[in-house]
Point group: C2
Chain length 347, copies 2
DNA sequence: TTGTAAGCGTTATCAC
DNA sequence: GTGATAACGCTTACAA
């Protein structure tokens, strides 16, 4: 921000409003301390005094300055949330519920996107730490060393989400991507399918998709099989990429019998494309998605997919932070939420 | 937060880390003022001094305290964003781009949900003002009097989004919902359809949907027609509500020829349901959506809809705040982004 | 139950 | 180009 800007902003602030605690105290005929108490621990103040103060607050339209409060008390009432992208409904859903829960407890949420990059995440962590948040909610367990170090040094509670397979720095709320892959393999195998492909994010970007692939692969290996193809799409993946994935799979093995897509958006667009091309699903090609998004159940055939309780993850993550802050829980914790394979028409 | 909590948090902070500017200054052999300058206006510091300070910062892992900065400078580098819900992709998209743009300028975004309630929005504004944000981005132009008063008094730049029809408090970036309704009416009329229905949000919740309905209605009136039905669904509207809307319309008028849905999610689920029921779209029932979401183009028939540049709205809103802050723009402003009727298969 | 005094960590101001 | 000192608005600790 330019020099001129700072001046402008400052003068704006100084002229406008600018009611502070002393002003309230003066009007109420008390000390600032009493005003402070009315705000944070009203039960310690005599009823009459309290009413006077409350009246003065209303009259002056007093709004406390949280920066001053933080400086004096070292509690920010801020939780920092870093997700790969708000454009993916998965994360948007999660954040929705994080915000909802935290709002109720008068915490503010500051949000940032890593764009699927550990380095960008590191910069965000660094920048968010300047606000002295009372908690961090990150996505996944893959972080730079500096990110870990910064967070550890800060002593802030950290929740890592969406990854129940790997060890967390502090607390974690996630699900087993590995298990998801195995479940899907199991399903395909139970239908006697052997030519099975995987379509997901690039392996250097999407570590949780990697785990799903590994799960699929390991289960297939147990049956003496190997995936016929693995397609890696660059993130973020717009829905239309499902068709690209489909085409790439078919280019590698035109006789592919089943595809596991790492996201329902991809699976849905691929399935609709199959319909358009007259490829019969699931007879000719079985399709399984991941996430159980909107419309998974509305298309024909309905999409077989793995349901993930994204909202629950958001709620649990927020609660994990809150529990640590109010002391009801002390150490590290690892929460794994269950996945559910929804067998519908497409596989 | 409980008394015990405050103590615990405080002690954690005091023990862990706690490197401050004086520590850096001491190590670098300068004053805090010089450290401060290195951080905000490096060009004012001699190269040698600067390097010493930068070295000390790295060595100590110093992280500035933005609360102290705000207190001293009255610039928070925070923008508060309030949307109805992050569960709706529309707003998630918008926020995604707001965050992206503001991050680049080292602003943090704090986010809140109004849940389509003006009263909740008011509480959020009140609570966010405690953080002394440098800007506010709100959704729509419908707010309580107190909300307006608080924002006006604070002197903070405010951008209202998504509503280009009504007067804004300060700045606005939106589109004409009225025009959207008229466009869709025009389309239906051009196809000779006369029995036209509308499905949208409850009129006391979704004011922008109201405007779309009014646009539709006014254009129909010019042709001597009136809508055969208007369905009001309670927000938030899950995709499946599209089917409910469809059924309600058909219950009122089984001969309805066309439906304008206030969101693509509704339109898509209704269209897929028509397919399932063997109702031919558009011959038997024409369907038009709003928003041009994912999959609008992937289903069969492809959804005719109104494309809204949600991302662009986010970018423009963020830029409007930035422009005001750096003084390049002074007064109120009203930006209206264009809508585009995408005529595809469904109408 | 209430008040007084001393910080919290930074930046603005002015002097050098 | 650099430093000393006084804010910034609130809470904590202690005293009354």
């Amino acid at each position: 921000m330019s020099e001129a800007t700072e001046k402008r902003v400052r003068s704006r602030r100084l002229s406008g409003g600018g009611v502070k605690m002393v002003d309230v105290a003066r009007l109420a005929g008390t000390s600032t301390q009493t005003v402070s108490r009315v705000l944070s621990r009203p039960e310690l103040v005599a009823d009459d005094t309290r009413k006077l103060v409350e009246q003065a607050i209303r009259e002056l339209n007093y709004i406390p300055n949280s920066a001053a409060r933080l400086l004096a008390s070292s509690v920010s009432h801020i939780v920092a949330v870093i997700i790969p992208s708000l454009s993916a409904t998965v994360y948007a859903q999660e954040v929705h519920h994080i915000v909802r829960v935290l709002e109720e407890h008068s915490f503010s949420v500051v949000i940032g996107h890593s764009d699927y990059s550990e380095l960008r995440e590191e910069r965000l962590v660094q920048s968010f730490l300047e606000r002295r948040p009372d908690g961090f909610i990150l996505t996944g367990t893959q972080h730079t060393d500096l990110t870990r170090q910064l967070l550890r040094n800060s002593g802030v509670p950290v929740v890592e989400t969406f990854d129940g397979d790997n060890a967390a720095m502090d607390m974690s709320v996630g699900f087993s991507n590995l298990e998801a892959g195995r479940k899907v393999a199991e399903l395909f195998l139970s239908r006697g399918l052997t030519r099975i492909a995987y379509v997901g994010g690039r392996s250097d970007q999407d570590f949780r998709s990697n785990a799903r692939f590994e799960g699929l692969q390991s289960r297939l290996a147990e049956a003496g099989l190997a995936p016929v193809a693995r397609i890696e799409l660059t993130l973020p993946m717009p829905a239309g990429d499902g068709v690209r994935g489909l085409d790439q799979v078919l280019a590698i093995d035109p006789l592919t019998q089943a595809i596991f897509f790492s996201a329902d958006t991809l699976a849905i667009s691929a399935l609709l494309e199959c319909n358009r091309r007259g490829m019969r699903v699931p007879e000719q090609l079985a399709i399984c998605g991941f996430g159980n998004y909107d419309f998974a159940d509305a298309i024909v055939p309905a999409l077989t997919t793995v349901a993930v309780p994204f909202e629950q993850i958001g709620v649990l993550a927020a609660n994990a932070i809150l529990a640590r802050l109010d002391g009801s829980v002390q150490g590290p914790s690892q929460t794994v939420v269950p996945l559910q394979l929804l067998r519908r028409g497409s596989a």
